[in-house]
C-alpha cells in the first residue's frame, strides 16, 4: 500500500494541476448544445479557454460572468443573471453549465439560490435550456473533482428521478476525465459489438473530436444529448470508469435505482477482461471474434514489449485515477514506479498505486524525485523537467499542447494497452545508449559498492 506524502512546500513550483472549474467545464463540453459559464472574473475564463484551445486546437465555447470590483464587493448575482440571459439569447444553448471559481466562492455566494431565483424569474425566456451548477472553487481539487462534480450536477439536475421501466440493452457509461476522445469512441464500439446501447455521459468524442462542421456553431456541436441525460434512469446498468466517477454513479443509483459497476482502470489485460466479461454477461452475447483477436494481439504485444519494460524506472505525475491507470500499466509490465506525484490526497485510489509512496505536489517534486529514472510520464508541462534531466517524456493527460492529436490517442482496453506498449517501447528504443567499455568495466565502482 502506497504511503501518501503530504505537500510540505509553500511555493508550488511548476504546477501539475489544472483548476477545478476547468475540469467542470471540460465535462459540460461533452454535452450537445452546451455552454459552460465561469462565475468569476474574466481572467479565470480566459486562462481556461486558452488552455483548452492549446490542447484541442478547436474553438471552445466558454463564457464568463465577468465579475469586476463592484460585483466582488456587492455580490455578483446580477452578473450571473445577465450572463445566463445573454447566453440564452445569443447562442440558444440546451445546457448552461455554471462553474463557480475561487473569487465567488471566497465571497461565499449562494449560487444555487441565485440560479433558482433566475430560473423562477425568467421561466419562459429560459424554457428549453437547462441550467446546472457545479461548485468548483479553484482553491480545492483539480480537473478530476471538477469533472465529477459537473457530471453529478447534471444527473441531479436533469435526470428524471424514480424507478423507471428498464431498457434491457441500454447501458449508462460514466467515463472519467482521463479518457480521450479515442478511448470513448473505442469503448462505444466495444459495447455496441455486444448488441448493447451505450449512453455515455459526458461524451467528448462527439464534441471535441475535431471535425469541420458546415456552419458556425457557438455552442458545442455533438456530445451527450440533454434528452439522453434525462432518460439515464431507463438503463439496465451503469458502468463508471475511475474512482472519481463513484460519486455521480452513486447519485444515479440514489435517484433512479440503476445499479453501477465501477472500473478503476480499463487499461491492461485483466481489467479489460473483466470489462468484456461484464458486457458479455449483461448482453448474454458471446465475445465477438474481433474482440478475441484484439486480446490475442495484446498478449503478443506484452510478450514482445516486456523486454523493454522490465526493471525500468518510471516517474509519473498525474491526477489520482490517471496515476493509478498508468502506474498499474507500467508495473504490470515489470517496470518500477520510481516516483508518483499527484494533485490531491482526497482520492481513495492513491493507496492502491503500485509505488512505495505517492507525493502530493507539483512538477517541481516530480523533477527532484525523477533523478535517475528512465522515463517521465506526465502532460506537456513536463517538458522543462525532461530537458533539464535529460530523461525522455511520454506526454499524456491534460494539457498536451506541444504535440498534435493527443485526443485521438487510445490508452484503454486491449487495443489501447497494446498501442501504449508500442509507444513506450519505441521511446525506450529511440533513447537507447550503446554500451561503452567504461560503463561495463567490472572494476569501475567496485569501491562504492563494497
Amino acid at each position: 500500500m502506497a504511503r501518501i506524502l503530504p505537500q510540505s512546500k509553500s511555493a508550488a513550483v511548476n504546477p501539475l494541476k489544472s483548476s477545478q472549474p476547468l475540469g467542470a467545464a471540460f465535462a459540460f463540453l461533452g454535452v450537445d448544445g452546451a455552454m459552460p459559464l465561469f462565475h468569476g472574473s474574466q481572467g479565470c475564463t480566459s486562462f481556461a479557454l486558452v488552455l483548452f484551445v492549446r490542447h484541442f486546437k478547436e474553438a471552445i465555447p466558454l463564457q464568463t460572468t465577468a465579475m469586476d470590483e463592484v460585483a466582488t464587493i456587492l455580490g455578483a448575482a446580477d452578473h450571473l443573471e445577465e450572463a445566463i440571459l445573454n447566453l440564452k439569447n445569443r447562442t440558444k444553448p440546451t445546457l448552461i453549465g455554471v462553474c463557480t471559481t475561487a473569487l465567488v466562492e471566497t465571497r461565499g455566494e449562494d449560487c444555487a439560490g441565485d440560479i433558482a431565483n433566475i430560473m423562477r424569474k425568467h421561466t419562459q425566456q429560459l424554457a428549453g435550456t437547462e441550467v446546472v451548477l457545479a461548485n468548483t472553487p479553484d482553491f480545492d481539487g483539480a480537473i478530476e473533482e471538477g469533472w465529477a462534480k459537473a457530471v453529478t450536477a447534471m444527473i441531479e439536475g436533469i435526470t428524471r428521478s424514480g424507478e423507471r421501466a428498464r431498457h434491457p440493452k441500454k447501458i449508462a457509461i460514466l467515463p472519467g476525465c482521463n479518457l480521450s476522445v479515442a478511448d470513448i469512441e473505442h469503448m462505444r464500439d466495444m459495447v455496441e459489438s455486444f448488441g448493447l446501447k451505450p449512453v455515455i455521459l459526458p461524451d467528448i468524442s462527439g464534441s471535441l473530436d475535431g471535425t469541420v462542421p458546415d456552419r458556425w456553431v457557438a455552442t458545442t456541436y455533438g456530445g451527450t444529448s440533454v434528452e439522453d441525460i434525462r432518460e439515464l434512469g431507463t438503463a439496465m446498468r451503469c458502468i463508471a470508469i475511475g474512482e472519481h466517477m463513484r460519486r455521480p454513479a452513486k447519485a444515479l443509483l440514489g435517484l433512479t435505482g440503476v445499479p453501477y459497476v465501477l472500473f478503476q482502470s480499463l487499461t491492461g489485460l485483466q481489467d479489460t477482461d473483466r470489462f468484456v466479461s461484464l458486457l458479455s454477461s449483461i448482453s448474454g452475447a458471446a465475445v465477438p471474434a474481433r474482440v478475441r483477436r484484439r486480446r490475442a494481439q495484446l498478449q503478443d504485444a506484452m510478450l514482445d514489449g516486456h523486454f523493454h519494460f522490465g526493471g525500468k524506472k518510471i516517474a509519473i505525475a498525474a491526477e489520482p485515477d490517471q496515476l493509478f491507470q498508468l502506474a498499474t500499466f507500467f508495473a504490470g509490465l515489470g517496470s518500477e514506479i520510481a516516483a508518483a506525484v499527484t494533485t490531491t490526497d482526497r482520492s481513495k485510489i492513491l493507496k492502491k498505486v503500485p509505488a512505495v509512496s505517492v507525493q502530493i505536489g507539483d512538477l517541481g517534486d516530480l523533477e527532484s524525485l525523477a533523478v535517475g529514472a528512465d522515463l517521465l510520464v506526465t502532460h506537456s508541462h513536463g517538458r522543462q523537467a525532461s530537458e533539464r534531466l535529460g530523461i525522455p517524456l511520454m506526454r499524456i493527460g491534460f494539457p498536451v499542447f506541444d504535440r498534435l492529436g493527443s485526443q485521438h490517442k487510445l490508452a484503454i482496453l486491449y487495443q489501447g494497452t497494446r498501442d501504449m506498449i508500442f509507444e513506450v517501447a519505441s521511446i525506450f528504443q529511440a533513447n537507447q545508449h550503446a554500451p561503452t567499455p567504461e560503463a561495463l568495466d567490472p572494476l569501475r565502482n567496485r569501491e562504492i559498492s563494497r
Binding site: 512546500k9 509553500s10 511555493a11 508550488a12 513550483v13 511548476n14 504546477p15 494541476k17 489544472s18 483548476s19 477545478q20 472549474p21 476547468l22 459559464l37 468569476g40 472574473s41 474574466q42 481572467g43 479565470c44 475564463t45 480566459s46 486562462f47 486558452v50 488552455l51 484551445v53 478547436e58 474553438a59 463564457q63 464568463t64 460572468t65 465577468a66 465579475m67 469586476d68 470590483e69 466582488t72 450571473l80 445577465e82 450572463a83 440571459l85 445573454n86 447566453l87 445569443r90 471559481t101 475561487a102 473569487l103 471566497t106 465571497r107 472553487p137 479553484d138 482553491f139 480545492d140 483539480a142 469541420v212 462542421p213 456552419r215 458556425w216 507539483d362 508541462h381 522543462q384 499542447f401
Partner: protein, 491 residues
C-alpha cells in the same frame, strides 16, 4: 486598495495618448476599457496583462499569490524567448487552499514561499503578483514584499494588479507602474554611454528582436534595456541611464515611456519594427534622438547608408513574391494594426486589403485606413464570429491575418490563416521579418490542402454513382480516378 484605485485613475489619464486626449473628462474617467458584458466577454484580466508585460524578464522569479487557476492554468504559455536565463519559465505560485483562506494564512505562506525561492534559486529579484482572491481577503502583499526585501536582501517587488481591477490593458499599465515604483533607477550602471537606448514594449516573440538588434549593433547603438523581451533584472533597474527610448507596442507601455521622460529626461518616440519603411523610420528616429542628446552626428549618415542597403535587399526579396501574391485578398482582423508599413509593404507587392478591424485604432489610424482601403465599408468595429465565418466561407478573402482568438473561425471556414499576434511561431520584425511574413502568407495561401479540404465528399455530390460501384478491385481503382476527376470539375 486606495493606492490601487489611485493607480488605476492615473493609468486612465494619459497625456501622451492621443486617443485618451480626445475624450472629455467624463469619458476619460471611465477608462480605456469598455465595461464587460457578462456572458459576452472575451479577453484577459488585469493580472494577465501585468504578467504578459513582466514575465519575459528572464532571470526573475515570478511568484503568483493565488489559488491554483491564475498560474496553474496559464504558465509557460507565451512565445517570448530568452538568450540566457530560464528561470522566468519556471512557475511559482502559493497555490492557496481552502484551509489557507479560512485560516488566514495567505501572507505567511507567501513569505515562506519567497524564502524557499530565494534559497533554492537565488534570483536577482522576485516579482509577487496579487490576484482577485488575495486582494479580496486583504492580503497586504506590499508589506510582505517590503519585509522580505529587508530580510533576504534581494528585490522583492509587489505587482498589484488583481484580475478584478479590470482589463488586460489596465494590467499592462499597472505593471509599468510597478517597474517605475520599484525597479527602474535602483541600480546605477558603471558604463553609461552616449549611444545607450531603451526599447519599451518589445516582447521578443519568437526571438524577433534578434532580427533588429544586429542593425543597432552595426550602428554602435547599445540597448541598455529592452523591456521586457529577453531582459535581465539589472538591465531594467539601470534603464534610467539610457539617452533615448523607442516605444513599440503603443497601448501597453506609453505611460512608462512618458514617465521615464519626465523623471530621467529620456526622450522617446512611438515606432514600429514591423514593415520596411517603419523599420527604417525607427532607426532614423533613434539616431536623431541620440544626436539631440549629444551623440556624434556622423551616425546619421551611417544610418542612412545601412537603411539604403537593407531596404534594397528586402525589396528585392519581396519582389520575388509579387507574381505569386498579386491580387490576393487579405483580411486583417487584429486589435490594432501596429504598423501601417506592413499594410503598405503588402500592397506594394500587389496584395489587396479587403477589410480591417478598427477596434483599437485611433482617429488618425482610421484616416490612414480610409486612404489605404478607399472604401469605408471595409472597416469594421468588430465582427461577430458567425459573420466572420460567413465572409470567409464565401471566399471573400484569400487569407485572414489575426490572433489566435479567431483562428478556428478561419480554419473551420477552410480559409488560410496566419497568426500575427503573440502566439505566432515566426519572427516578423525588421527587414527580414517583413520578408518572412510575406513568405508565410505565400506558404499559407498556396498550401495544397485547401483544394483538397474544400472538396466535398464524392458521394455527397454524385449520389447516382454510388449504385454503380464495381466489385472488382482493379476496376474500382480505375473508376475511382474518373470519379475523382468528375467531382473535381463539377462540384
Amino acid at each position: 486598495m486606495s493606492s490601487l484605485s489611485a493607480k488605476i485613475k492615473d493609468a486612465f489619464d494619459e497625456p501622451a495618448c492621443d486617443k485618451n486626449r480626445g475624450k472629455d473628462a467624463k469619458a476619460r474617467k471611465e477608462g480605456c476599457s469598455k465595461s464587460l458584458t457578462p456572458g459576452a466577454a472575451a479577453g484577459g484580466c488585469a493580472f494577465d496583462g501585468a504578467k504578459i508585460v513582466l514575465q519575459p524578464i528572464t532571470d526573475v522569479a515570478h511568484l503568483v499569490h493565488a489559488p491554483l487557476a491564475c498560474e496553474g492554468n496559464s504558465w509557460d504559455n507565451r512565445g517570448a524567448v530568452s538568450s540566457g536565463p530560464t528561470l522566468w519559465r519556471t512557475s511559482f505560485t502559493t497555490d492557496l487552499t481552502e484551509l489557507d483562506l479560512v485560516m488566514g494564512q495567505g501572507e505567511r505562506k507567501l513569505f515562506k514561499a519567497i524564502r524557499e525561492i530565494k534559497h533554492t534559486y537565488a534570483p536577482p529579484a522576485i516579482f509577487v503578483y496579487s490576484t482577485c482572491v488575495t486582494a479580496l481577503i486583504g492580503d497586504d502583499i506590499e508589506a510582505v514584499c517590503k519585509r522580505a526585501t529587508e530580510k533576504f536582501g534581494l528585490a522583492v517587488v509587489p505587482i498589484n494588479a488583481p484580475g478584478l481591477a479590470g482589463s488586460k490593458n489596465l494590467g499592462n499599465k499597472l505593471a509599468a507602474e510597478a517597474l517605475l515604483d520599484h525597479v527602474i533607477g535602483t541600480v546605477e550602471p558603471d558604463d553609461p554611454g552616449p549611444y545607450d537606448i531603451n526599447i519599451l514594449g518589445e516582447f521578443n516573440l519568437s526571438g524577433e528582436f534578434w532580427l533588429v538588434k544586429p542593425l543597432l549593433d552595426r550602428l554602435g547603438i547599445r540597448v541598455r534595456a529592452c523591456i521586457p523581451g529577453d531582459a535581465r533584472y539589472r538591465d531594467i533597474a539601470s534603464a534610467h541611464r539610457a539617452r533615448a527610448a523607442m516605444m513599440v507596442c503603443s497601448t501597453a507601455l506609453i505611460s512608462l515611456a512618458r514617465k521615464m521622460e519626465e523623471r530621467w529626461d529620456i526622450p522617446f518616440f512611438e515606432g514600429s519594427f514591423y514593415g520596411i519603411s517603419d523599420t527604417s523610420q525607427a532607426l532614423r528616429n533613434l539616431v536623431r534622438l541620440l544626436v539631440r542628446k549629444g551623440a556624434d552626428p556622423e551616425i546619421l549618415e551611417r544610418t542612412e547608408t545601412l537603411i539604403a542597403q537593407q531596404e534594397a535587399i528586402a525589396w528585392k526579396k519581396l519582389e520575388s513574391y509579387r507574381q505569386r501574391l498579386q491580387g490576393k485578398r487579405v483580411l486583417l482582423n487584429t486589435g490594432g494594426v501596429k504598423s501601417w508599413s506592413v499594410v503598405h509593404a503588402l500592397m506594394e507587392i500587389g496584395i489587396e486589403i479587403v477589410g480591417t478591424s478598427i477596434k483599437k485604432s485611433t482617429v488618425q489610424d482610421k484616416e490612414r485606413i480610409k486612404q489605404v482601403l478607399k472604401h469605408d465599408k471595409h472597416m469594421f468595429e468588430s465582427m461577430a464570429a458567425s459573420e466572420l465565418y460567413a465572409m470567409l466561407s464565401e471566399h471573400r478573402a484569400d487569407i485572414m491575418l489575426s490572433g489566435g482568438r479567431t483562428q478556428f473561425i478561419a480554419l473551420k471556414a477552410k480559409t488560410p490563416w496566419l497568426d500575427i499576434n503573440q502566439e505566432r511561431q515566426h519572427p516578423y520584425a525588421g527587414y527580414d521579418g517583413m520578408v518572412e511574413l510575406v513568405r508565410q502568407i505565400d506558404l499559407a495561401i498556396h498550401n495544397p490542402i485547401w483544394s483538397q479540404v474544400r472538396q466535398p465528399a464524392p458521394w455527397d455530390c454524385q449520389p447516382e454513382l454510388i449504385g454503380e460501384l464495381p466489385c472488382t478491385r482493379n476496376e474500382t481503382a480505375y473508376l475511382f480516378d474518373e470519379f475523382a476527376c468528375a467531382t473535381a470539375h463539377e462540384c
